[in-house]
């Protein structure tokens, strides 16, 4: 099962390597990992997407909780939640047909063209990982110059929240 684990941690140097080190030392898999400071500069928010059986996910959350730098965490896939990932993708768009095709697909996926050159477009697209995958699948693979993805972030819907009380 795919799980999204949201973590509030002390914004200290080395905190990220404690988490990534834990995953490699114990053989857990990381699909993606993102981290940035929150509105409280002393805290960072990390989102890890991982896969594993219930037993493995249980161990992952326990082992993460054991790290001294981690203040709080939640497996947001346990409840209703929103997941978003940002992708920047540079596509070859030299002739009129290519340009029209890229523009059309970008509109369908509700993306934005954010850079235009003589031979390429850069598209900005946000959504779930699946949506970004679908966009890539819809594009002629030979047209892709490069792809940058942020990794998934997520947040619980409604009243549920990950915060220090």
């Amino acid at each position: 099962m795919r799980h999204i684990i949201s973590i509030l941690m002390e914004n200290e140097s080395g905190a990220l390597s404690r988490v990534s080190g834990l995953f490699s030392a114990r053989g857990y898999n990381i699909e993606s990992l993102t981290v940035a400071p929150t509105e409280d500069a002393s805290l960072s928010r990390m989102t890890i997407v991982t896969r594993g059986s219930d037993v493995v996910i249980d161990q992952i959350t326990k082992q993460l909780n054991k790290l001294v730098d981690i203040v709080k965490l939640a497996d947001i896939t346990e409840g209703r939640h929103i997941e978003r990932e940002l992708m920047l993708i540079k596509l070859r768009a030299a002739d009129k047909d290519q340009r029209a095709e890229v523009k059309r697909l970008t509109d369908i996926f509700r993306g934005r063209i954010i850079d235009v050159s003589e031979s390429s477009y850069i598209i900005e697209l946000t959504g779930s990982g699946d949506k970004l995958d679908a966009f890539i699948a819809a594009i002629d693979p030979t047209a892709i110059v490069e792809t940058v993805r942020s990794g998934s972030t997520g947040i619980a819907r409604g009243e549920n929240s990950l915060q220090i009380t």
Partner: protein, 572 residues
């Protein structure tokens, strides 16, 4: 008080009540050593290798319950300490290790004796810190001691760059009496509902079993465990790390369990219907094949570390909390509960266990013309009247010590269980002897293990530590040889110790007393003579039966009911 960084470290250690620092000087810690030199409250013990410093601090911690403190320099000082840090980590031993570091301005430049100590130790510490500002020193040290000693204990490394300790820069110092961390708040109390459920299950058992580990020792819950177990009249087994937390000479104690545990303990595990696990972590040397582990039992697990619960074996009633707190709650509930254990079922269960006991699984050839290692440990037990602190190295001798020395008190059996670190025994014994100057301390070792930290004989001389070294010399890495005999058709690949030193002369050259014993009839007299030399380290080199194996044995990955009792008495 205006102090330099180096003085703050020393003053803090004093304020924290640290008696001993085990260490070895070097460039990055010279300022700290200079500050140590100018006071007497904190005693520094100079070892001969940084690994020895960590093991000595570890022995001090394991025999007192207080944190061990280590001071080493940057680079090789830190890397040499890693084995000892990992040893403490695997056995949850409270330890604070101060490592010197190159100045903050040089970090990352591949400076002389620079190593990323925080990075290297990260996977084998409970937590670690790099101090980047002298103003953070006192608070960081306080956090280090707090984290090391609370919850599930463990080693904490504090990496201190040289410029942070500059004697010319004085800053205000105030001892931080308390500490609070929003991200680390261990909770000692167990959930009352779970404790109630657990007790109901315990009382309903027909074939109960209590299995306890090092957590009981570290929670100082021996008294509570003994009280609880005696009230119920149930059988109890200890792990290697838990020996001494329940009196070994008590009739309800059925020996250690696991790979080299007793037949009765392992069979009782296999046949029990309710298992109460207390401060134990279902280690692979205990469980064997987890799929066949306690196949008929409902399992209750009390542990301070939530991550220990259902890690290798799924449990039915988890209780997260400090063992002592939870046992006190359970005893209170037990007193108020009208329900009593099923006496008839329990009598039948004990009859079965006594039948298993009748196999006399620790039997060995007492008429042998060669010195049997088991006999040496039995004599050691007799002569020290079970009162000694026993440290051990790792291998066959460790298992024989665990099987044949009956520990009736906690904090007396000091060995590297989790990491299995050869070289642990001698330096650990030095730490124990320093902590208990009047006590009898013996290090049970073998000719292979002892050579891994033999240089600490010099430390023992410097500080007049009268440890007795019991060297069970079989000229083999015994446990390796045993596995090669069993699983590699006796191809003894590199397990024979050639070119051994003359241990008697070696001990003498360090200024100690050396004795060589090669006849069974001389064992007792030699031990008596050695222990009568109260103020001397005596190295007893026992030339033992080379072919002796540790029995009983469950091969790795097998079940508790698949024991080998001896070469003649095969399967149970």
């Amino acid at each position: 008080m205006q102090l330099s960084g180096a003085e703050i470290i020393v003053q803090f250690l004093k304020d924290e009540g640290v008696e001993y620092v085990f260490g070895y000087p070097g460039g990055a810690v010279l300022h700290i050593y200079d500050a140590l030199f100018q006071q007497e409250a904190v005693r520094h013990i100079l070892v001969r290798h940084e690994q020895g410093a960590t093991h000595a601090a570890d022995g001090y911690a394991r025999s007192t319950g207080k944190p061990g403190v280590v001071l080493v320099t940057s680079g090789p000082g830190a890397t040499n300490a890693v084995t000892g840090i990992a040893t403490a980590y695997m056995d949850s031993i409270p330890m604070v290790v101060l490592t010197g570091q190159v100045s903050t301005t040089s970090i990352g430049s591949d400076a002389f004796q620079e190593v990323d100590a925080v990075g290297i130790t990260r996977p084998c510490v409970k937590h670690n810190f790099l101090v980047k500002n002298a103003h953070d020193l006192a608070a960081t040290l306080k956090k280090a001691f707090y984290i090391a000693t609370t919850g599930r204990p463990g080693p904490v490394v504090v990496d201190i760059p040289k410029n942070i300790t500059d004697p010319k820069i004085k800053i205000p110092y105030l001892y931080p009496a308390s500490v609070s961390l929003r991200s680390y708040q261990p909770s000692p109390q167990g959930d009352p509902g779970q404790i109630k459920r657990a007790l109901e299950l315990v009382l309903a058992a027909k074939q109960p079993m209590i299995y306890t580990g090092g957590g009981v020792v570290w929670s100082h819950a021996s008294k509570e465990l003994t009280d609880f177990t005696r009230r119920l009249g149930y059988p109890i087994t200890n792990t290697l790390m838990g020996l001494g937390s329940y009196p070994a000479t008590d009739k309800q104690f059925i020996g250690m369990l696991g790979m080299h545990g007793t037949y009765e303990a392992n069979m009782a595990m296999h046949e029990c219907d309710v298992l109460l696990a207390v401060g134990a972590r279902f280690d692979d040397r205990v469980t064997g094949d987890t799929k066949l582990f306690c196949p008929h039992a409902k399992i209750i697990h009390i542990d301070i570390d939530p991550a220990s619960i259902s890690k290798t074996v799924r449990v039915d009633v988890p209780i997260v909390g400090d063992v002592k707190h939870v046992l006190i709650d359970m005893i209170t509930l037990l007193q108020d509960n009208k329900r009593k254990p099923d006496a008839t079922a329990l009598a039948a269960w004990w009859k079965q266990i006594d039948a298993w006991r009748g196999k006399d699984c620790l039997r060995y050839d007492r008429a042998s013309k060669l010195i049997k290692p088991q006999a040496v440990i039995e004599k050691l037990y007799e002569i020290t009247q079970g009162e000694a602190y026993i440290t051990s190295d790792v291998g066959q001798h460790q298992m024989w010590a665990a099987q044949f020395y009956k520990f009736n008190q906690p904090l007396r059996w000091i060995n590297s269980g989790g990491l299995g670190t050869m070289g642990f025994g001698l330096p650990a014994a030095l730490g124990v002897q320093l902590a208990h100057p009047k006590a009898t301390v013996a290090c049970v070792t073998g000719e292979a293990s002892i050579q891994m930290c033999i240089q600490e004989l010099s430390t023992a001389m410097q500080y007049s530590l009268p440890v007795k070294v019991i060297n069970l010399n079989n000229r083999y890495m015994g446990m390796v040889r045993q596995w090669q005999e069993f699983f590699y058709e006796s191809r003894y690949s590199h397990s024979y110790m050639e070119a051994l030193p003359d241990f008697v002369k070696l001990a003498e050259s360090y200024g100690h007393v050396g004795m060589r014993i090669d006849k069974p009839g001389e064992v007792e007299a030699a031990l008596k003579e050695a222990f009568a030399l109260k103020n001397r380290l005596v190295f007893l080199d026992f030339i033992t039966d080379q072919k002796e194996n540790v029995y009983p044995m469950i091969a790795a990955g097998k079940a508790h009911n698949e024991m080998h009792l001896s070469s003649e008495r095969e399967l149970a």
